[in-house]
Structure formats: C-alpha cells, structure tokens
Amino acid sequence: MTDAGYVIGGWTLTGVAIAGYVGRLWARSRRARRFLPPDEQGRSEWM
C-alpha cells in the first residue's frame, strides 16, 4: 500500500467514525424526544 492509501484510509475511517457517532446521537435524541413532552425536550436544534 502506498502512503496515499494509508492517508485516505485514515481520513475515511475518521469521517465514518465521527459521522457514525453523530448519527447515533441523532437517532437516540430523536427517539428520546418521542417519549417526552415539548417542555422537557431540552435543546433539540442540531445546526
């Protein structure tokens, strides 16, 4: 494998890991909001 291969692999992996974590947080938050009335939902804005 060339240097570029390791670099691309590393950056892709980082992107996937971060996106995966954000996605998991998002899904769990969405699920949690379904169980709560609006005044207990905390701040739900993502961006």
């Binding site: 494998m1 390791y6 670099v7 590393g10 980082t14 949690a32 709560l36 005044d39 701040r43 993502w46």
Partner: protein, 259 residues
C-alpha cells in the same frame, strides 16, 4: 423554532440555542477547512512525504482525548466537592468521557495507520503507545461502570472516584515521551521548550485540525449532554409512572379479604 416558556431563563435559553447552532456551523466549516488544508493545500513533509497528512487527525484526536478526560475529571471533582455538588456535573462527566473514549480509539487506530508507513510497524510496545492503550481501557471501564443501573447518587459518586483515579494515566501518556526512551516522537507543539518544531503550511494544517476538532468536541459534548438530560428525564418519568401505578393498585380495595 420553539421558544422557551418564559421567565428569567428565557434570554439564556435563547442564546444557548443560538450557541448550539453557531457551534454546529463552525464545526462543519472548520472541518471543511481542515480537509482542504490537510489533504490538498499543505506540502508533503521533507522526510515522511504524504504520510504526514495522518498527523493532522492523529494529533488533534489525541488532544481531544486529553481535553475530554480533563473535563470529565473536573466535572467529577466538582461533583465530589460538597459545595458544588450537582447531578449536572455527573451527567457532563459521563458525556465527556464517552467522546474521550471515541477519540482515544481514533488516536490509536490513526497512530497505527501512520506508524506503518513511517515507522515500518503497525504497533510498537513503547511507553507512549502502551500507556495510551491503557488509557482507552481505563475509560472504557469507566463507561461500563456508568452503565450499570444503580441509585443515581451512588452511581455518580462511584463514577466520579473512578474517573479521578483513571485520570492519573493522562500525564503518564503525555510525558511518556519525555520520561522514557520511546520510538514515538516527542511532542511537536507542547514539548519541554514550548517551541513548536513544525514549520510552514504544515503547522497551519495542524492548527486547523486542532481548532476543528475542538469545535467538534464542544458540539458533540453539548449534543451528548442534552441527550443524557432527556434520557434521565425519561427514566424519571418511567419511575414516576410505575410508582403511580403501584399507588393506584393499592388504592383499589382488596377483592377478597381472607378470614
């Protein structure tokens, strides 16, 4: 957009919401800048060539791991100290530790991917690498401890003590390259002379990485904290509902009284 119900917290709430939105935007923008600077604009290193581009993720990830565990320890200490005790500190400690574990894992994997082309090995049993792996498992244990169902106050106290005990390893990781002879290079920014040994546009790429990851950390921390607050509220509601149910059962007069 939903507006807070009013009262003194209204303005703070409004700005906190704005803060989250600004932080999210800043994170995405700075990550984009990092990709451009790190992958395209910056020059290859005079020795390592293109492999150095892994540093722009590896070093910021390690920095976030330190930062996250630092926040966890601070929050745990504030929880343990009676004058500042608040369940919010415990929630914050847990949220921060989870992100810390994510970034410690990333640090290890990225370090391994970087080590193969530049050291010629995937893994070296040197002090920096091993102490980082130990750090990963210490906080993995901490998270496992947090997940065990228990009385919230008891769990918070246990977790806080475990977090402080685990933090001992952080300085060991950081100074391992100074104290001991390792294959791992010494700190390139926070070294003993506080003299960054990274030059040219490589330094800008690393700086943008540190900035982007710091924004990302703060954003993730805020999101994780809000999630934890909501999940705690759900648990509380479930508990209240269960108690109300038992109450209701007790209020029903017994159908048949045994003689």
């Amino acid at each position: 957009m939903r507006v807070a119900t009013g009262g003194p917290g209204k303005a703070a709430e409004f700005w906190a919401r704005r803060g989250t939105i600004v932080l999210g935007g800043l994170t995405v923008a700075s990550l984009a800048v990092l990709v451009v600077l790190g992958l395209f604009v910056s020059d290859p290193d005079y020795q390592q060539g293109d492999a150095v581009r892994l540093m722009y993720l590896h070093v910021p990830a390690a920095w976030i791991a330190y930062l996250a565990y630092g926040v966890t320890s601070l929050a745990s200490a504030l929880y343990l100290w009676k004058r500042t005790r608040s369940p919010a500190w415990d929630t914050l400690a847990g949220a921060s530790a989870e992100i810390g574990v994510l970034f410690t894992g990333l640090t290890l994997v990225l370090g391994s991917l970087w080590g193969r082309p530049v050291w010629n090995v995937w893994w070296a049993w040197d002090a920096r690498v091993v102490s980082t792996a130990v750090l990963f498992f210490l906080y993995l244990g901490y998270l496992a401890l947090r997940r065990v169902p228990a009385d919230p106050a008891v769990r918070a106290r246990r977790s806080a003590i475990a977090a402080l005990a685990a933090f001992v390893d952080v300085p060991v990781v950081h100074f391992s390259v100074e104290w001991w002879r390792t294959l791992h290079q010494k700190g390139s920014v926070f070294n003993r002379e506080l003299n960054p040994t990274i030059q040219g546009n490589l330094a800008w790429a690393l700086l943008s990485g540190v900035f982007a990851f710091t924004c990302l950390y703060l954003y993730l921390l805020e999101r994780r904290y809000q999630l934890a607050v909501m999940e705690e509220a759900i648990e509380e509601r479930a508990l209240e509902a269960a108690i109300a149910e038992r109450r209701a059962e007790a209020d029903v007069p017994p159908v048949r009284v045994p003689s």
